[in-house]
């Protein structure tokens, strides 16, 4: 759509100003925006000069610093002072005749694209892309990923062309919830339909004057959950070949030893030994300089028996290194006697 709409917006600007939208853009316009009444396009065309506010009819000619804002609920353009005047005291219906959308001041913003249809499509795509954010690696095969992309595009176009909006929105939200729940399984989840309370609640649940986002979501989600409790409906969408998300393992406690340990496996060190060192360890030159007898014991024992932990056959089998082949081969079985230089 954007490909169609943008050239018409850019190159045919003069035509648009003269006679309203081109045929194609007009048909899409009527499809996508809320201009239902037949009289409206004509009037809209007459007033759609970007210099005049359609609500208060003041023009840029009189007020040079006029800014036009739109609300993504209905994309009707109005000037900043109108927005201030109408919506400062809370949500109010859109002042454009025929549009009954409730608008909030906070959501009014400058439009990014000249063509409001493009603006709307970009908004919808952004919203969908935020929820449907799977990547190719999340799928088992490229085929599954492509199927997923097709579904995403279908959802997007459903929303753009207003086909099954209610149901699509509901499924999208359910999917988002399911994704969040998967990401953070410990987060407290809103319990929809908490048993007997529902009957009493349902009487009053439709009487909501100012629908906050959360309230609305609860309402629609709960209404969406009741008719079809099947898995696909609960999760919004289910995709073939979507890999289960692996939960990252919680970080382990810090090990100051880095996982290393030194344990004597083949001997044990006693606290005291009957050794001539016994006689000297009470000398000041030892205890005053931090020379520790147990260190000496274990050192001596290590030197004597540490080799018991070395199994040459095992090591040779593990090695398979060329460096080892050399002495064996060249030595020809004879023990290669090389005095240790140390």
């Amino acid at each position: 759509m954007s490909r169609v709409a943008r050239p018409s917006g850019a190159s045919n600007r003069k035509a648009v100003e003269d006679s309203g939208a081109s045929n194609l853009s007009h048909s899409l316009h009527s499809m996508s925006l809320q201009h239902q009444s037949p009289s409206k396009p004509a009037r809209a065309a007459a007033d759609s000069s970007p210099e005049v506010c359609q609500v208060c009819k003041s023009s840029r000619y009189l007020n040079q610093h006029m800014r036009f804002l739109v609300n993504p609920e209905c994309y009707h353009k109005m000037c900043e002072s109108c927005v201030d005047r109408i919506f400062s005291h809370g949500p109010a219906p859109c002042p454009i005749a025929g549009c009954k959308k409730t608008l909030r001041k906070a959501r009014f913003r400058m439009q990014t694209f000249e063509d409001l249809k493009v603006e709307r499509e970009v908004d919808i795509r952004r919203r969908v892309a935020k929820v449907m954010n799977k990547q190719e690696v999340d799928f088992e095969s490229l085929r599954d990923y492509n199927d997923y992309l097709e579904t995403v595009e279908e959802i997007t176009w459903n929303l753009i062309l207003k086909i099954d909006v209610e149901q699509t929105e509901r499924r999208l939200r359910a999917f988002e919830e399911a994704q969040k729940a998967e990401l953070n399984p410990n987060a407290p989840r809103r319990v929809m339909n908490a048993g007997p309370d529902t009957s009493t609640l349902s009487d009053t649940s439709h009487v909501i004057l100012k629908k906050g986002g959360t309230q609305r979501r609860t309402q629609t989600a709960s209404s969406g959950n009741t008719p079809d409790p099947s898995g696909a409906e609960e999760r919004g969408f289910s995709f073939k070949g979507l890999k289960k998300r692996k939960v990252p393992e919680p970080e382990k406690a810090f090990d100051p030893w880095g996982g290393y340990s030194v344990d004597a496996l083949y001997y044990s060190v006693k606290d005291e030994y009957d050794h001539k060192f016994f006689a000297v360890k009470h000398e000041a030159k030892f205890y005053a300089s931090g020379y520790k007898a147990p260190e000496y014991y274990s050192h001596a024992l290590r030197d004597a028996f540490g080799g018991l932990g070395v199994f040459l056959n095992e090591e040779m089998a593990d090695l398979k290194l060329n460096a080892i082949d050399v002495p064996l081969a060249v030595g020809g079985g004879r023990d290669v006697e090389m005095n240790d230089v140390f």
Binding site: W257, Y260, D263, Y291, K292, L308, D318, V330, G331
Partner: protein, 414 residues
């Protein structure tokens, strides 16, 4: 020799038995390299009377095999004793090494000089992620010894704390302190004294881990009947017992140095700077007070106590509040550790094992993850990269179209 410090008992690296085997394999390779390494003349001198020619041939062959694995690159630095080159594996130029070519010096015409001998002897057998790795040793035609070491591009720890453009916090200090303590613990477990621990000798690897290097003064723990020299360890990091002429010390001398390194990283300046060896004991007592026979039993029996300390006016150590004000970065637990490491009496000083059991490591903040540790040059490099990226395509900000979306990016709001 007789000492093979690291071979046993089995070092138990983290994980399954597979790495054990790898470690075993490595240590064996080292032994093999080690034996090939010394100059052929040495090897031949020690051969059996049966066939000196054959054995010399074997030694040369093995040496060539090792030497041919590596290619020399540009020269990185030159010192009095050695020249350092960058090198790489011949079969994989992306695997870098540092080749330390020892110079022959006048005093040691015959044989290998003591520093490189010590370096080879201990590094060949010690394997730990926070100790510099000796990959191989070989000789070249001029009978120079070449040590092939791990390539560590991160620079020294000292450069890092001295560079005030780099900001770091308590978690970073804790991570570095822990790596250092692990390295020293591993040395001491294998009965090796480093005897020159200082932030100059701690190098930062590509993965931001610290590597303890320079084993030129290392030795094994001495037997009680043997004297050790007290003239070791760079002055700023030398413990008081060495100034008092102790000849029978243990791992505690290294732990004092570790304490000094952690303290200086925490305050970003030398912790105990002094101008001369004689003045340093004064600097130490300035902070830790003048020790008495009660807090350091046997003190007065030490060799230089009479000339260095006898008759000094009594002085109390600095209070805890002084430490808290000096080292806010490491918190109370860190200060407790540093004070434990910097205890005057070496027998009360924390050993490496006790240091790793300290509650500093388990208290908050958790030590920084390795990949998030600050590193030298990273910021400048990033800044330069940012500048470069900013100018790409010769784009000029006109101001007119800046606010207009140039591209439809549907995923941008994610």
């Amino acid at each position: 020799m007789g000492m093979s410090p690291a071979v046993s008992p089995r070092p138990n690296p983290p994980g399954s038995s597979a790495p054990v085997n790898a470690a075993k394999a490595k240590s064996l390779v080292h032994l093999v390299h080690n034996k090939t390494a010394p100059s052929p003349s040495l090897a031949s001198a020690a051969t059996t009377p049966g066939g000196p020619d054959a054995d010399e041939g074997l030694a040369e062959e093995m040496n060539d095999k090792v030497a041919n694995q590596f290619a020399f690159g540009p020269r990185l630095g030159e010192g009095t004793y050695a020249t350092v080159f960058r090198g790489h594996y011949r079969d994989d130029p992306s695997k870098l090494v540092a080749i330390k070519k020892m110079k022959k010096n006048a005093e040691w015409q015959d044989g290998i000089n003591l520093d490189s001998l010590r370096e080879m002897k201990y590094l060949a057998e010690l394997h730990h992620p926070y100790l510099i790795e000796l990959i191989a040793v070989f000789t070249t035609k001029d009978e120079n010894i070449n040590l092939v070491l791990e390539h560590l591009p991160g620079g020294e720890l000292q450069d890092l704390w001295q560079d005030k453009t780099i900001a770091y916090g308590g978690a970073d200090v804790k991570a570095w302190a822990n790596m250092l303590c692990q390295a020293v613990w591993w040395l001491h477990e294998n009965f090796v004294l480093h005897r020159d621990i200082k932030s100059n000798n701690i190098i930062i690897a590509a993965d931001n881990s610290l590597k303890l290097a320079d084993f030129g003064l290392a030795r094994t723990f001495a037997n009680p009947e043997a004297d050790m020299t007290y003239n070791v360890i760079t002055r700023f990091y030398r413990p008081p017992e060495l100034f008092l002429g102790s000849t029978h010390y243990g791992g505690c001398v290294d732990m004092w140095s570790v304490g000094c390194v952690i303290a200086e990283v925490a305050i970003r300046e030398f912790f105990l700077p002094s101008a001369t060896d004689l003045a340093h004991l004064g600097v130490i007592t300035e902070v830790f007070g003048v020790p008495t026979e009660q807090d350091w039993p046997g003190l007065s029996k030490l060799r230089f106590w009479k000339e260095q300390m006898e008759g000094l006016p009594p002085k109390r150590p600095q209070p805890l509040s002084w430490w808290k004000q000096r080292m806010p970065l490491i918190g109370d637990a860190g200060i407790d550790l540093v004070r434990g490491l910097l205890t005057m009496d070496p027998s009360k000083r924390l050993s490496a094992r006790q240091a790793l059991d300290h509650h500093y490591w388990t208290s908050l903040p958790r030590p920084q993850r390795k990949e998030l540790l600050p590193k030298k040059g990273g910021k400048e490099g990033e800044k330069a990269m940012g500048e470069q990226l900013k100018r790409v395509g010769g784009e000029i900000e006109s101001g007119r179209t800046d606010k207009v979306a140039r591209k439809l990016d549907f995923g941008a709001a994610r």
